[in-house]
């Protein structure tokens, strides 16, 4: 058994209205990957923020390298060797890789770009990161930016690197590469705390897994000692018999069909149809053009097609497909789905003003009834229907989006990454909603980068690669390997 490098002892933290952490004790060993899992709101972020000096614990202690520490801010934690790689990757877009790594670490006033370039080039080479030190960060993709952050942490002699959901925004291929790098870090004597929603990858890289639920540490297990079922049970506190309940029965009848769809200059000649009662999936890596398909059909991105039919009506490209009964649950709920400063009622009403208004006048009495119905229907957890949506958890925010989009039953609904960043229990609720829609005869297009849900939920799957359709797989042809091959362009 290796040495303990970090010990969290009886840490508690309360925010106004919530106890975020209750008496949590946890060790991090040398040269290990410790996975931290739990639903949204379980306390993962609070815990890492306390370890990395962003928040102060109300009670409890933290021992690092055998000594009690009390970091006053993240800078002090980083200087001591605890670096955090945040999801939003706090890099300076307009600066080069070398400058980014040196920012905040220049001693004195003089700064030699040349020297920085040389030092960083050597560092990147030694890590086998295929990135140029003089490249501007804005020209890098998310995965490369993560590598820059990792390089920066190592440059600062990090002993512990905390990664906050690093795979949420990168492709599977890039994730594989990241895992290799994480294993390399271990060999270098660095410990990694790895936060993730995806159980598959935890089995791939973690040595131990710690489960948080409602601010409490439910347990820490060696990865070999715990199976998926049990892990999920620990996370949600109840057994999920079936993550992907299927009760829809695809019929022969076609609801929606599009031929030779092109979106912008990227997506070309995509043809598919959606049948009644079917959940039609679109899979592919990030940037393969799958979300563009939805935005193109919806009328948000410039698109054209040789023929598009919805419920036997032929449709021409138009800016307002909503009026034809085509609904969209967009990819990024904060950027595209919600007005965060407005309350739950206003967000739901926004797409349904016709139901509560006469002319310009809005009846807030009717809006209240409407919002209460939806909050009940989707069991959205709110203190009041006038709560601002920015204060809701990710899962509840997504439910507000669903309520808003589905209030008026659409003929065709396109859901883009509808379960990204939400907890397991809410994911299952989303799957149930999708199933119900298909059963009610709504055409459903389910677009996702997460293979398990594509495999678990969809009846047929179109796989995208670099803006082209690589083929449509039937349910009996569906397998992870098959989809990955198509999605990475390895067609045999």
């Amino acid at each position: 058994m290796s040495e303990k490098i970090l010990e969290v002892r009886n840490v508690s933290k309360t925010f106004p209205g919530v106890q975020a952490l209750k008496d949590v004790s946890l060790d991090v060993h040398e040269k290990e990957v410790l996975a931290l899992v739990g639903e949204n709101g379980a306390g993962k972020s609070t815990l890492i923020k306390i370890i990395s000096g962003v928040h102060k614990a109300d009670s409890g202690e933290i021992y690092y390298l055998g000594k009690k520490v009390n970091f006053k801010d993240p800078t002090e934690a980083i200087a001591s060797g605890i670096s955090t790689i945040h999801q939003e990757l706090n890099l300076f877009e307009e600066l080069t890789v070398a400058e980014n790594i040196f920012v905040g670490n220049v001693k004195g006033f003089s700064f030699s770009k040349k020297k920085a370039f040389k030092v960083v080039s050597e560092l990147l080479d030694s890590l086998k990161f295929n990135i140029r030190a003089d490249e501007k960060v804005k020209n890098l993709n998310t995965s490369e930016k993560q590598l820059v952050s990792i390089a920066k942490a190592l440059f600062l002699n990090a002993r512990i690197i905390i990664m906050d959901e690093p795979t949420a925004t990168i492709t599977e291929y890039e994730a594989e590469r990241l895992f290799e790098i994480v294993k390399g870090l271990k060999a270098k004597g660095v410990s990694v705390i790895f936060i993730s929603h995806r159980l598959e990858e935890i089995y791939q890289i973690a040595d131990r897994v710690a489960v948080l639920r409602d601010g409490e540490l439910i347990g820490v297990k060696h990865i070999t000692e715990v199976d998926r079922e049990e892990l999920i049970r620990m996370m949600v506190g109840r057994k999920i018999e079936e993550m992907y309940p299927k009760f829809n029965r695809p019929e022969k009848e076609t609801i929606f069909a599009v031929e030779n769809l092109s979106v912008g200059t990227f997506v070309k000649n995509v043809t598919f149809d959606v049948r009644k009662g079917e959940i039609f999936g679109i899979a592919g890596l990030v940037g393969s053009g799958k979300s563009e398909i939805a935005l193109g059909i919806f009328g948000h991105l410039p698109a054209n097609w040789s023929k598009m039919v919805l419920n036997n009506n032929e449709l021409q490209p138009s800016k307002n497909m909503l009026e034809h009964g085509i609904a969209l649950v967009p990819e990024d709920r904060k950027k595209m789905g919600l007005v965060l400063e407005l309350d739950v009622t206003k967000n739901i009403v926004l797409q349904n003003t016709n139901e509560v208004s006469r002319g310009l006048h809005i009846s807030w009495k009717k809006a209240k009834v409407l919002a209460s119905e939806e909050v009940k229907k989707y069991s959205i957890k709110v203190t009041s229907i006038y709560q601002k949506v920015k204060t809701l958890s990710g899962g509840n925010q997504q439910k507000v989006v669903l309520a808003k989009v589905l209030r008026k039953t659409p003929r065709l609904v396109m859901l883009v990454e509808p379960t990204r960043g939400i907890d397991v229990a809410t994911k299952v609720e989303v799957y149930n909603i999708v199933n119900r829609l298909a059963n009610e005869g709504v055409g459903v297009i389910f677009i996702s980068s997460e293979l398990p849900e594509i495999l678990g939920l969809c009846d047929r799957v179109l796989v995208m690669h670099r803006g082209r359709s690589m083929g449509i797989l039937d349910r009996h042809e569906l397998s992870e390997e098959r989809i990955i091959k198509l999605a990475t362009g390895v067609d045999d």
Partner: protein
């Protein structure tokens, strides 16, 4: 109303606290301040600024800004004055002025929405254009010579209440309704809060944006009609700096220049604070050289306090 409800309301309108503050301060410093006639006086002085600021509020809530109001004010006044001076009816003159306001508002909104340009730049340009057109049209000279009945709008009163004050309160009521109880208002907040989400929810974003700027232009013209009537002349230098006064009132009223926040009632209180500061400092004989500095400090303090809250 319970104490908690009152404090919650105050949080919604932080300008009220500032307003009470300046009223108490000037009341203590001068016995000429806290009188009914002085308050009526303040309201009349404030009315023109407030009316412009009402329109600016909606534009700022929607995430925009309208720098052209001062110049559009001058051009509306010029067109109004010359129409009446040339023998047109008062009504025709007013319609012409409102049309100038609406026209510039439409132009601003159209270029911003369809051209996907930043409101700051677009209205900075129209600010210059409208001012230049005004100077050219008036050849740098004031326009006077109206029938005496025209004076009623700016200088008359009904049952002792000045007409501009009545106009201001009517518009306040109308704008309160528009922003709180209509799609127009809901969309102003939603577009300012998240334009993309509004668009994907089916909101006709361009159409509404254009309408916000038209409203701002029209209210500016209404204000120009009042001042022209009150001074019985139109001057080419009318409205210089009015955009900044309007923005100050809106921000004092709790709006954020990044959009999605603010209220017409708050703006009204904001405009009142500015008006009372002017009035109080004049009563106290504060040198005009220092008056703007005081106003600047008040704005900064207000914004800092609101940030904390």
């Amino acid at each position: 109303m319970s104490w908690r409800k009152i404090t919650a309301k105050l949080r919604e309108y932080p300008a009220v606290v500032g307003l009470v503050g300046v009223v108490v301060l000037f009341s203590l410093l001068s016995d000429r301040f806290f009188t009914l006639s002085n308050f009526v006086n303040v309201l009349r002085q404030v009315s023109m600024q407030a009316i412009i600021a009402f329109g600016m509020t909606v534009v700022i809530i929607s995430g925009g800004i309208d720098l052209s109001v001062g110049s559009v004010f001058a051009l509306s006044a010029a067109i109004l004055a010359s129409t009446i001076a040339k023998g047109g009816s008062i009504l025709l003159g007013i319609l012409a002025a409102l049309l100038v306001g609406a026209g510039f508002g439409f132009f601003n909104g159209f270029v911003i929405a369809k051209g996907r340009l930043q409101p700051f730049i677009v209205t900075l340009a129209t600010m210059a254009i409208a001012r230049s057109l005004t100077l050219a049209y008036m050849e740098g000279m004031p326009i006077t010579g109206f029938p005496s009945s025209f004076r009623f709008i700016g200088a008359g009163d009904i049952l002792g209440i000045p007409v501009p004050v009545i106009i201001m309160f009517s518009l306040l009521l109308l704008m309160f309704y528009l922003t709180r109880y209509t799609k127009f208002g809901l969309y102003a907040y939603s577009i300012g809060g998240n334009e993309l989400a509004s668009k994907l929810s089916g909101v006709k974003v361009d159409l509404y944006k254009i309408s916000f700027y038209i409203l701002s232009g029209v209210l500016t013209a209404v204000s120009a009609v009042i001042l022209t009537s009150r001074l019985n002349s139109a001057q080419p230098t009318f409205g210089v700096g009015y955009e900044l006064d309007a923005i100050a009132a809106v921000v004092l009223g709790g709006a954020s220049l990044s959009g999605g926040k603010g209220s017409v009632l708050g703006t009204f209180f904001g405009a009142l604070i500015m008006g009372i500061l002017n009035n109080g400092m004049n009563i106290l004989n504060v040198s005009p050289f220092y008056q703007d500095a005081v106003k600047g400090i008040v704005i900064l303090t207000a914004v800092l306090v609101e940030r904390e809250g």
